[in-house]
Symmetry: C2
Subunit: 219 residues, 2 copies
Amino acid sequence: MKKYIPVLKKTKLFAGIANDEIASMLLCLDAQVHHYKKGEYVLREGEHLSNIMILVGGRLHIQKDDYWGNRSILEQISMGEMFGEAYIAPESEPLLNDVVAAEDSVVMFFNAKQIITTCSSACRFHTMVVQNLFFSISEKNRKVVRKLSHMSKRSIREKLISYLSEEATRQNSSSFAIPFNRQQLADFLFVDRSAMSNELSKMRKEGLLEFERNCFKLL
Amino acid sequence: MKKYIPVLKKTKLFAGIANDEIASMLLCLDAQVHHYKKGEYVLREGEHLSNIMILVGGRLHIQKDDYWGNRSILEQISMGEMFGEAYIAPESEPLLNDVVAAEDSVVMFFNAKQIITTCSSACRFHTMVVQNLFFSISEKNRKVVRKLSHMSKRSIREKLISYLSEEATRQNSSSFAIPFNRQQLADFLFVDRSAMSNELSKMRKEGLLEFERNCFKLL
DNA sequence: TCCTTTTTGTTGTAAAAACAACAGACTTGT
DNA sequence: ACAAGTCTGTTGTTTTTACAACAAAAAGGA
């Protein structure tokens, strides 16, 4: 458990909190560690949540498969990101999507009630965590809205440009790796893989970008 | 100002707070009222926010126009809903979209810092508001994810079914009105209006639904 | 009321995407 | 090293969507 404190320290939720403070909070917040193999389900659609979770190792996909087997990847969760936080409100509906390990992953569970109910004595920094929680969910919110903007684009090409540009900006370089293979990227952009591959090739021919596997360079 | 207290009382943010408590908080939170005519901009892309806003009259669209004049409506804000809350975090980027009055509207502005910084004495209920704020943004989050699910559908027909089903569920009836005209619905679903109109007609012929103007009935 | 503007549905055509099928490159495990 | 499986790009076909243009219906204003 303690070995994840350095990771937690870097998260938005525990920003500005000292290591030993985090350690004491782990007890107060009822922290638990779970391990998942690639492909395993962390959460399933329809579940009721009473925990807030932080990914401390690996990578997760928040996704949904429809009746015909079409998969849609709504979000990707990377190291240090929080998830599940939107479903702990008292009148919240059950989880809308599945959460699946995209690679071997480690997740920490925290008792949600303990987080949002500021405790009386022990944890001096609890108030700060509540505020951090709000800032974290704010960031998540903006992330989803950005994704929605990608999806508002009408053509595969525009969606690709929109997404790849964001990645280039985020990684602060015109050369960057993405955390998806082709099929996953297609599922993430809600388009057909072969059509997308085709479009990528066209764009390369036109000199808009270069790529190899999951590495891209915008020109 | 005081005339909006009954509206505020029904919002998620002020849930469980007595009328006179709200009244005193209006001062503490630096509340201001602004009026907008249909089509007027409430906020513009790129702005930095230091307020949380609640719509107390009318209807707003959170939207974006691209270079070629294609409009995308990302969200609709109805009476009593909060907005802007995701952009007040210290390291938040500027606003990603425009906020426009879809009809004559009234908006209340609250000082964001005052809300998230629990004040010392006067407002006994301030702690509750902070918690409400978290639950409100949680709900907003789920709303955006639901919209993302609609958009994950590959065809216009599926998007329509996905959106209309949600409305039917939300309004708890198979007959319901939607808050969009055809062009706005198309902008909201990120598709072409005429193609969508066409698809609606086909669906009506096939007996899937009935409609007239903005009133729909699922069969 | 009449005129103007907006909204909606319809049609035909061009463009784009989905779908299916396959081959070659690359991985992985034995 | 080999076999099995996965990933990626490519092609041809079918389906769907976008686009443009227009007419009818409805709404709004003078």
